[in-house]
Symmetry: C2
Subunit: 219 residues, 2 copies
DNA sequence: GTTGTAATTTAGACAAGTCTAAAAATATTT
DNA sequence: AAATATTTTTAGACTTGTCTAAATTACAAC
């Protein structure tokens, strides 16, 4: 139905929209896909011809309803496979991304339906990201960034934004994971770092780069 | 490392070698890959440049040691995924081929190692075909074709040669499956059909096309 | 052995997706 | 508002894998 490249473009446009809540730019898409801006322009024209994106020269790009459905389906597959890799095959959460990037392009509705059932219909992936339903809806979430959370209140970590190996391994080292409980003890104005307490009770300083990549929920 | 096309060519050349025990011909490869003979010639030259096949114009092609290893690895992945689809996701054995054709190209040694462990190191796929080991050895098998088996002796079905939906569904209809016990009661010279008895005791006539696509072992 | 047929290869073309280099449009700075 | 910098697009080329049509080689029958 759609090529590997087309699917990757749609996915990236979708992710950029979620992250920036505005039209995706040629340059950002190129950076995400490790390609050149000129290649992106070429592909955007093709996707526009197929009515998968709304594209106007120099104005960035957004997904049409049809493009959005395809993108959500890819994201659904990606996240279900991540659950499989972690829960069933016992991968660590920092090892699954590259493999899931490949598995998400396998074309078989039956496969995904059965995988979903086998995994007991999970709603979140190992990084806390919601899994789109079969009909393409994403449950909304009232999580906030840890950097925006209040001091002295008890939160639960719900999701990590950055899925890079280095970030996830950093979190592992400090026993920070999905569903960890966390309280901000103090906020340092100077560099926007925060001092937090986890369930082990030992104070820990987190940089602003860390706290803006972690989502939490008030308990 | 290798492209999808390259991997498919190597796999088909390997399968043709197993099936015909001689060099694969351009035309047969083309038929298997649903492509044209001229395309095959082009690709064989490229594979020869990469030292994956021994190719001489007009003389057919065989795999080098390097090509053989890659092909066996693809076959290993294909068959492990088939076991997963049938044993874990409860696919029927006639539904797994197309999906496994996609899954076999996923590149991750870790994934296959962990899948292998999760499946408890299976040695045969759902059609009875042996699963190559990690270091590329295929256990040899003393199975014979049902069409070559003796009358009145008790055999066990070990493998089916044709993996097509229609053949597998035909076998399902008559409750013929891997490990079924079977005895040939009579052989009909006229059309080479045979009359067999399964565990239900009811005599059943099998055409020569069927009996040449089923392997059995003497019990 | 010659002849006809089938298999194979060559030559040239095409589509998808990418690239570089240059041009055009937009944004930012002064 | 003009000058500069950045982003985006265009034009033309390249790679991979495929195709058609024509030429060549191998094989089988007589």
């Amino acid at each position: 139905m759609f090529s590997l490249s087309e699917e990757n473009y749609l996915k990236v446009i979708h992710n950029l929209k979620i992250a920036n809540s505005k039209n995706a730019s040629t340059t950002l898409i190129a950076k995400e896909l490790q390609t050149k801006a000129s290649s992106v322009t070429d592909m955007l024209k093709k996707l526009a011809d197929k009515k998968l994106v709304n594209y106007q020269k120099y104005k960035g790009v957004s997904l049409t309803k049809k493009g959005e459905n395809i993108a959500l389906n890819i994201v659904r597959k990606h996240r279900l496979w991540e659950v499989f890799l972690v829960d069933t095959l016992h991968f660590n959460w920092d090892e699954v991304h590259e493999v899931a990037e490949q598995l998400e392009h396998i074309k078989s509705d039956q496969l995904i339906d059965r995988l979903d059932a086998f995994l007991k219909y999970p709603t979140k992936d190992p990084h806390g990201d919601p899994i789109p339903t079969k009909n393409g809806t994403l449950p909304l979430d009232n999580s906030i960034l840890l950097s925006n959370a209040d001091t002295q209140k008890l939160y639960k970590i719900s999701c990590v934004k950055d899925n890079s190996k280095s970030f996830l391994q950093y979190l592992d080292k400090h026993a920070i994971t999905i569903n960890s409980e966390i309280t901000i003890i103090d906020k340092i104005d100077f560099d926007s770092s925060i001092i937090v307490k986890l369930s082990n009770g030992i104070p820990l300083t987190l940089s602003s780069k860390v706290s803006t990549n972690v989502f939490v929920n008030l308990i």
